[in-house]
Subunit: 194 residues, 2 copies
């Protein structure tokens, strides 16, 4: 299963066949049951997580005590609280498995050793962060530009696999809706298709 | 002036003294008068920009025909439309000088040559993108968590230099306010301080 990571890295940089097992030895494989936390608010954010199979979400608990999801990560995506990770501080977020999930964890200090031994992975992570940052600039644009209903339709069109896979109450939270409002929008969409 | 970039790179990775002029030769120095565009919506996004002196903003024109600012960059920050840059596509944004601004432009294809010749810069850009992405995760949290007034106060507390420097109508646009609403909040803040 860990080969998924090697395949992903190879989309961006070359890795010699004999180096693959060595690279993987820097990672810790973790399997989480549904709703298990990888990271809790207030805990030191030690690791960055690559999703091999399953789905993670990043959320915080808002002033009203409600869980607010701000990101999801499915197969081949990385996720953690990057501010807490890079500063090796306690996190302001939770990272939780949405479904049964297998991740490869890369510890902050182990990452430094990995990058020293395989400097071509600096390029891999540079490209991963560049893509993630590019996506966040686009997301910021959509948040300013779209109504809530347009936001749902945009999301449904560009990420149909999410709409199918993610529980409705989490999708509603991510889009800043109540579950009832999301349900209304979906009903309207279905009527348009009939 | 271009030494500002070398100093910035040296905060993250080592550069030999004799390599500094060679590295700088990959960049194009551009000086922009206030309100001049570096990039327009619909144009191919060829370059990434490092601000040596001055201030850039990233904005798009919304459905109502109004300029919506989503990001600023002052000295030592990089800015472009990263989705358009990495895919070498036409941009959905404008990049404009807020005041008289000096930038160093790094062309997409020239960046590849630079990184081939100085692979340690992969680490520099990896860390720059990691920091930018971390900040965008926090910003997303604030957008979900804070009222508009709280957003202003958070911004004023963490980035006081912006509040002083950036024209009020641009700050209002960035925070998603009308200029009138921003003016009201500021009056209230002053009254609290009295």
């Amino acid at each position: 299963m860990a080969d998924v990571l090697i395949q992903h890295i190879r989309k961006f940089v070359a890795i010699d066949e004999q180096d693959a097992p060595t690279i993987l030895s820097f990672f810790q494989s973790i399997t989480l049951p549904k709703k298990e936390n990888l990271l809790r608010e207030g805990e030191l954010c030690k690791s960055n997580y690559f999703v091999v199979k399953g789905c993670l979400r990043l959320f915080f608990i808002n002033e009203k005590g409600i869980e607010q999801t701000t990101q999801f990560a499915i197969e081949n995506w990385w996720l953690t609280d990057y501010m807490a990770f890079q500063n090796q501080q306690s996190s302001g977020f939770f990272v939780q498995a949405v479904e049964k999930t297998e991740v490869l964890a890369l510890h902050f200090h182990v990452e430094e050793q990995l990058l020293k031994q395989f400097p071509q992975l600096e390029r891999y992570f540079r490209l991963i962060y560049q893509k993630a940052y590019a996506a966040s600039q686009m997301r910021m644009k959509y948040i300013y530009d779209f109504s809530r209903e347009e936001l749902y339709h945009h999301f449904a069109e560009h990420f149909p696999e999410f709409i199918q896979r993610i529980p409705q109450y989490l999708l509603a939270s991510f889009l800043g809706f109540t579950p009832e409002y999301l349900s209304e929008i979906r009903k309207k969409s279905v009527l348009k298709l009939v």
